[in-house]
């Protein structure tokens, strides 16, 4: 099954062949070439762009190569609220996605285990949103949550919402959109680990005086930790850099700008390429640091191996 790509326990490492095969190197070549052209070169360009200085004439969108470390300080000072907001929103969205996905994945992977047809049907339903463009779905939510929507007018009619209140353009709608859009990325890795959860461990836990919740906390949860870790990473990383949900054209407003939107406007509207590049590098490094801390912490807490997490 395709989802085993998220599988936790990597098969036992086979001893490395003693002689490096030329064929293996040949097979690796396209991938390495691809990474050099489309990852290393752009990364280098990004780093240099972030250090560029404005031209002497001060023309908009014109920059010369330089070593302006100060670009970082400028954008950090200017956009720290958006940076913090990005991580805050994506953290909350990740938590909600986990809370929704875990029971869903558990149900599909464990509860309907003996009904493969239903299980496959439910899995297809989890992936079904991918058949429609991400933009279209977010747009659909925008109209469903807009001021003219049935939902909002009903809530206002019932006096559950203030007459001048909105749903779109609020932190709620942005986090809602992020959660909705990334739920499959959380559900699938969870499904992959729970599908192989041996329920005999749960019976053993119950036999050893553990109540259902204790069994969940001490057995199911640690055994599914690799899935939780990969699901959290697959949700948190793209959500932190997302600029669709928070954009004003979709579910966001002026007060919900995330770092992705800032990079977007600096690049396309203000044509401030060094600022956009510096922000990208800040975002990348911050995510990298957070992810490393998170993995180390998870490994420490759950004492699980790191194999197959990434």
């Amino acid at each position: 099954m395709a989802f085993s790509a998220f599988a936790s326990a990597a098969p036992a490492q086979e001893p490395a062949p003693k002689r490096r095969s030329k064929i293996a190197l040949l097979l690796l070549a396209p991938g390495v070439l691809y990474l050099v052209i489309f990852f290393l070169v752009p990364l280098f360009t990004l780093v240099t762009t972030a250090l560029q200085a404005p031209t002497a004439s001060g023309d908009i969108g014109q920059y010369v190569p330089g070593f302006e470390i100060g670009n970082y300080a400028t954008v950090l000072a200017q956009y720290s609220p958006q940076i913090l907001r990005s991580f805050g929103y994506s953290l909350v969205a990740t938590v909600f996605a986990l809370l929704f996905s875990y029971p869903l994945a558990y149900f599909i992977a464990v509860k309907v285990r003996h009904r493969p047809l239903l299980q496959n049907l439910l899995l297809v339903l989890v992936i079904a949103p991918f058949f429609i463009s991400f933009l279209l779905r977010t747009m659909a939510w925008k109209s469903m949550l807009s001021d003219e929507s049935f939902l909002v007018s009903a809530l206002k009619g019932l006096s559950l919402m203030a007459p001048d209140a909105h749903i779109t353009g609020t932190p709620f709608s942005v986090i809602f959109g992020l959660t909705y859009n990334f739920i499959p990325f959380m559900t699938l890795p969870l499904y992959a680990v729970l599908e192989r959860l041996d329920t005999r461990y749960l019976e053993a836990g119950s036999d050893l005086y553990a109540r259902p919740f204790t069994t969940f906390r001490t057995i199911t949860l640690p055994l599914s930790a690799p899935g939780i870790i990969s699901g959290v990473l697959l949700t948190f990383i793209p959500a932190a850099g997302d600029y669709v949900n928070a954009s004003r054209q979709f579910l966001g407003g002026t007060g919900t700008t995330m770092i992705g939107n800032v990079i977007d406007s600096n690049f396309f509207d203000l044509q401030n390429y060094p600022a956009a590049a510096a922000l990208s590098i800040i975002l990348m490094s911050a995510i990298l640091v957070l992810v490393i801390v998170y993995i180390l912490l998870s490994v420490y807490v759950w004492k699980t191996g790191t194999e197959g997490l990434l």
């Binding site: 836990g205 005086y209 204790t214 001490t218």
Partner: protein, 399 residues
């Protein structure tokens, strides 16, 4: 069993009218069983006979369709597994892979908030001589070591009743024999009630004080291993617990303390006290090792059954003894075990022989020997369910 109390000794287990139905078939049919405290009790039967279901019912992992389960006189029928003073050594061991050995063993104690859980866990590991591996993970241990950890994890809780679900099934023969002796001595040491489920008749007989032979969801016979072996009551027990030579025929004469059965013109005498039925068609039998081979026709004497002549059709050597199969016209094949006291087999294939055994070694069954297929069916629970469903469907169609 919350509250953190250790059971000081084993408790009685009582099953009253237990019935367990799964969709499509009945696994256990009206079972009544009492296991006295402190005993080592074995449930023996082929796969699909309901023995594992019985164990799971006692553990609380399955719910009985009808009937009551009492442990130490307390009705536990409606309680959850974690509320029962029962621990199980699972067939798969089910050691938690994400915990170390010591964490596995201390798990039950921690849940019951028992003081010094780690110390007690180490003590249990010392009992199974694995304390030096306490910091390892289950997957770093061999099968035999994992089995002992599973045992330690269960007995450390001092359950009133310890359930063993074919715990030795995955071990090789030599290790299995060794573990059988260890389990037995541990049981005597801790004095708990052990309920052991197995399909290995030798295992059941070496370890248990009392063996119950199960077949098709019912207990066929229950008793001490020697009694079950020497005096089986049904054809199933006679054949499942060791081997038997069975003969069916009408009773043609009764003396003071014995009956004589006419099997295809041969007269077989069985003591009345060892026969379940004394008239009509009866099945009588004798164990292969009670039989003696003769190469010359012996003189008939009172107190001995003599059959023959027949021909040896197969000789197979198995170390301590040799199995001979003697074909006697009209009686079929008779199995004889002879101790290898000398060198080489007593007789070769094709030799004309007679077979005799002492009257007091024979037994009479309460049912008739079924016309046995060459290989007994060893079907699993699912296929039995399917079979029963088909039988039911055809019954319904006929009606």
């Amino acid at each position: 069993m919350a509250g953190g109390v250790f059971a000081e000794s084993g408790a009685d287990l009582e099953l009253v009218g237990i019935q367990k139905r799964f969709p499509g078939f009945t696994a256990i049919e009206g079972m009544d069983l009492t296991i006295p405290a402190g005993s080592f009790f074995a449930l023996l039967g082929p796969s699909g006979c309901g023995k594992t279901t019985t164990l799971r019912l006692v553990a609380g992992l399955e719910e009985a369709t009808a009937g009551r389960i009492l442990i130490g006189g307390k009705d536990v029928t409606d309680t959850k597994p974690y509320q029962r003073p029962v621990n199980t050594v699972f067939q798969s061991y089910a050691l938690f892979p994400h915990m170390t050995i010591i964490e596995n063993v201390a798990f039950g104690l921690r849940r019951r908030k028992i003081a010094d859980a780690t110390g007690k866990a180490h003590e249990a590991l010392r009992l199974v001589e694995l304390d030096h591996l306490a910091a390892r993970r289950p997957q770093q241990l061999s099968g035999g070591q994992q089995q002992r950890v599973a045992l330690a994890r269960a007995i450390v809780n001092r359950p009133a009743l310890l359930l063993l679900d074919e715990p030795l099934g995955a071990l090789d023969l030599k290790l299995r024999r060794q573990m059988q002796l260890e389990l037995k001595s541990i049981q005597e040491e801790v004095g708990l009630t052990f309920l052991h489920v197995t399909h290995d008749q030798e295992e059941a007989m070496t370890m248990a004080d009392t063996v119950a032979v199960m077949n098709k969801g019912k207990i066929e016979q229950l008793g001490a291993p020697e009694v079950l072996y020497e005096l089986p009551r049904t054809a199933f027990v006679a054949n499942f617990l060791g081997q038997s030579n069975l003969f069916t025929g009408p009773v043609e004469g009764t003396t003071g303390d014995s009956i004589s059965v006419n099997v295809e013109g041969n007269r077989i005498v069985v003591p009345k006290s060892r026969a379940q039925r004394h008239s009509g068609e009866v099945t009588v039998g004798a164990r292969p090792e009670k039989l003696t081979l003769h190469v010359t026709e012996p003189k008939p004497e009172a107190g001995t059954n003599l059959l023959g002549p027949g021909r040896v059709i197969d000789v197979s050597f198995s170390g301590v003894s040799t199995q001979y199969i003697v074909a006697i016209p009209g009686l079929g094949s008779i199995v004889v075990f002879a101790q290898n006291m000398g060198v080489g087999p007593l007789v070769g294939e094709g030799t004309e022989t007679w077979v005799s055994w002492k009257v007091e070694h024979g037994f009479g069954l309460e049912d008739e020997a079924p016309r046995q297929p060459r290989f007994s069916s060893d079907t699993d629970t699912a296929s039995i369910a399917l079979e029963k469903k088909r039988a039911l469907m055809s019954e319904l169609e006929e009606a």
